[in-house]
């Protein structure tokens, strides 16, 4: 035995992995390369899509394109009605979803016990997982059948999509408010509702706002509900969401993408550029703010 080991072990040999260890290291290297390649692939896809939108969209952009109506008949013109319509629809949706979402979040964190909130959480999960086209079909049956398309119907659908997002992000921030603040308010004999409105909500306000902005960024790009609920619209700037359908950017892009018109494609790229810039700026900004307000609260 001793002879064997002495024969196999050569102290002068360089320390190089051999046999099994060598194989394991190769497998490890392959796995590491694969994981890195996957990340590079995802970033490349993001880069390619954004580059395409910027490169094609910049050609269509002009002051005229952003501020004028399309002609009453035929192609061409600008996207001012679509921009205004999107702003109105999304603003109204936010006005519906934000108070509801924050109230639900307050209920979950302040009033419902750890078990009492179960059904609400389940409902929020279900709502979050609903395909947006199903929400569209629902609002169609509720508001559009017999009444016709309205911008308001689009807002309601977007509000249903935003509600679970706002409720969940608000709930997360409310939970981050330090217990010491609540206890201090309690010790001063402050009523529950005053401590919620005066102490807890202000502490969480930054986080609630950024969560809302993220939900707005998500809703601004939703197309399926708007296609079903507010797509046949007059080509003029309108701010009243109740009377008739409002033109909006997602449906504008979708409609042009379904027609084989190269000029239309250029305008659709331009509209896509406007929408993408808005969404990327708001979601990046919200994330930056979120990181800041989180660290501020937990200090």
């Amino acid at each position: 035995m001793t002879d064997m080991t002495e024969m196999l072990f050569d102290p002068a040999a360089p320390l190089k992995p051999s046999g099994n260890l060598r194989r394991r290291q190769i497998v490890n290297r392959v796995a590491e390369t694969g994981a890195t390649a996957a990340a590079v692939l995802a970033i490349a896809v993001l880069g390619i899509v954004i580059f395409a939108v910027v490169a094609h969209g910049a050609a269509a952009l002009s002051w005229h394109f952003l501020t004028h109506n399309p002609p009453a008949f035929g192609p061409g013109g600008g996207i001012a009605p679509a921009i205004v319509g999107t702003v109105v629809i999304v603003a109204l949706a936010t006005a519906i979803a934000m108070p509801l979402g924050v109230l639900v979040a307050i209920y979950l964190t302040e009033f419902a016990g750890p078990r009492g909130g179960g059904p609400i959480r389940l409902v929020l999960d279900v709502m979050n997982g609903l395909p947006s086209i199903v929400v569209a079909v629902f609002v169609f049956g509720l508001l559009v059948v017999g009444h016709g398309q309205t911008g308001f119907a689009g807002s309601v659908a977007l509000a249903i999509i935003m509600l679970p997002l706002i409720a969940r992000s608000s709930q997360e921030v409310l939970l981050l408010v330090p217990a010491t603040q609540r206890e201090a308010a309690d010790a001063l004999g402050v009523a529950r509702w005053r401590s919620i409105i005066g102490v807890i909500l202000p502490g969480a306000l930054g986080g609630i706002l950024t969560g809302t902005v993220l939900a707005v960024a998500r809703a601004a790009g939703e197309t399926a509900p708007l296609l079903v609920l507010t797509s046949i619209a007059p080509p003029t700037v309108g701010v009243n969401p109740f009377g008739h359908a409002l033109p909006n950017i997602p449906v504008y892009i979708f409609t042009l993408s379904e027609q084989a018109d190269p000029q239309g494609f250029t305008r659709a790229w331009g509209a896509a550029f406007v929408l993408l810039v808005f969404i990327l700026i708001s979601s990046l900004g919200a994330r930056a703010l979120l990181a800041r307000s989180r660290s501020k609260i937990s200090r």
């Binding site: 970033i43 209920y107 979050n128 609903l130 086209i133 892009i253």
Partner: protein, 303 residues
């Protein structure tokens, strides 16, 4: 007094939320009533959809939904998990701080823009380069069996869905991998395991249920996507074994035909598709939540 008011408002908001979900179920199913009474459950498997002849069936859309979503899941799951591993274990901190948000930004791109890019740039490219190559090399497999005709195909739709699902799986699995206790990983390393062996032996087994849940959440997203799929799938009515042929999904058929629907029966048939989608979507999502909660209670999977 104030307490009661605030409590009342919050409870009211919760009741409204619950009522909305109930009302969604009621509206969608009652809208489908006409089609249900005419076609019954046979609608689900029937493959003919001809609005002019009042013949409606969901079979081929169910097939298209299953094939495109499955393709998206099969591609996005390994890539997404690999990205999660890269972001949680491999990349140095500064790289993480840049790549992580960028991957999540991929999820922020609106589906209509992704679909527009897909039909104008991705589909022609696939049709010219990727599809002929796949057909030439793997043509003996039925899924690559037919010669590519136009870029609008189930294959393109599957790739677009992959792009949409990828950031979901990547970001959830990264968060999961970060929760694996470092003692376990250090222990594996101390035993001489390579980084990959640590992943295989410690990280993946301890997060398997959460990763499965993430995949199902991604699947739910892919099943319900309407717009981007409508733009690239080509709105075909028939079932083809080849991915290079056109097809259609439940969601995209609704989005595509709702505006042009003329008869009450057609609208009701579209509601029927919506009801099917509602059931499939909710079951997938609840299943994902259930796996996530059932097998590792402490970890929050659903974000």
């Amino acid at each position: 007094m104030g307490d009661a008011v605030l409590y009342g408002l919050c409870a009211l908001a919760c009741l409204l939320t619950i009522a909305t979900i109930v009302e969604i179920g009621y509206q969608v199913f009652s809208g489908a009533h006409l089609a249900f009474s005419k076609f019954g459950l046979g609608f689900i498997g029937h493959t003919r959809w001809a609005a002019n002849f009042d013949a409606f069936g969901a079979g081929s859309f169910l097939f298209g939904t299953a094939v495109s979503s499955l393709m998206a899941l099969l591609l996005a799951a390994p890539i997404g998990i690999a990205i999660g591993l890269f972001l949680s274990m491999l990349a140095p901190q500064p790289v993480r701080a840049v790549i992580g948000p960028l991957v999540e930004l991929l999820a922020a791109i609106p589906s209509v823009i992704l679909g527009f890019w897909g039909i104008l740039l991705l589909a022609p490219w696939l049709n010219k380069h990727a599809e002929p190559w796949l057909h030439g090399t793997f043509g003996f497999l039925p899924i690559f069996g037919s010669t590519p005709t136009t870029g609008a195909s189930v294959f393109t739709a599957g790739l677009i869905l992959t792009i949409m699902v990828l950031p979901i799986i990547a970001s959830i699995s990264r968060d999961l991998f970060l929760t694996v206790p470092s003692e376990l990983q250090d222990g594996a390393a101390a035993l001489g395991a390579t980084r990959w062996e640590t992943v295989r032996g410690v990280v993946l087994p301890s997060t398997a249920s959460g990763v499965t849940a993430a995949c199902f959440l991604g699947l739910g997203r892919a099943l319900g996507e309407a717009i981007a799929v409508t733009q690239v799938i080509g709105a075909g009515n028939a079932i083809h074994s080849s991915l290079f042929a056109t097809g259609d999904t439940l969601a995209s058929r609704i989005a595509n035909q709702f505006q042009g629907a003329t008869t009450k029966l057609q609208i009701s048939a579209l509601f029927y598709l919506g009801a099917m989608l509602l059931v499939i979507g909710v079951v997938t999502n609840l299943f994902a939540q259930w796996i996530g909660r059932r097998f590792d209670v402490q970890r929050s999977v659903a974000r």
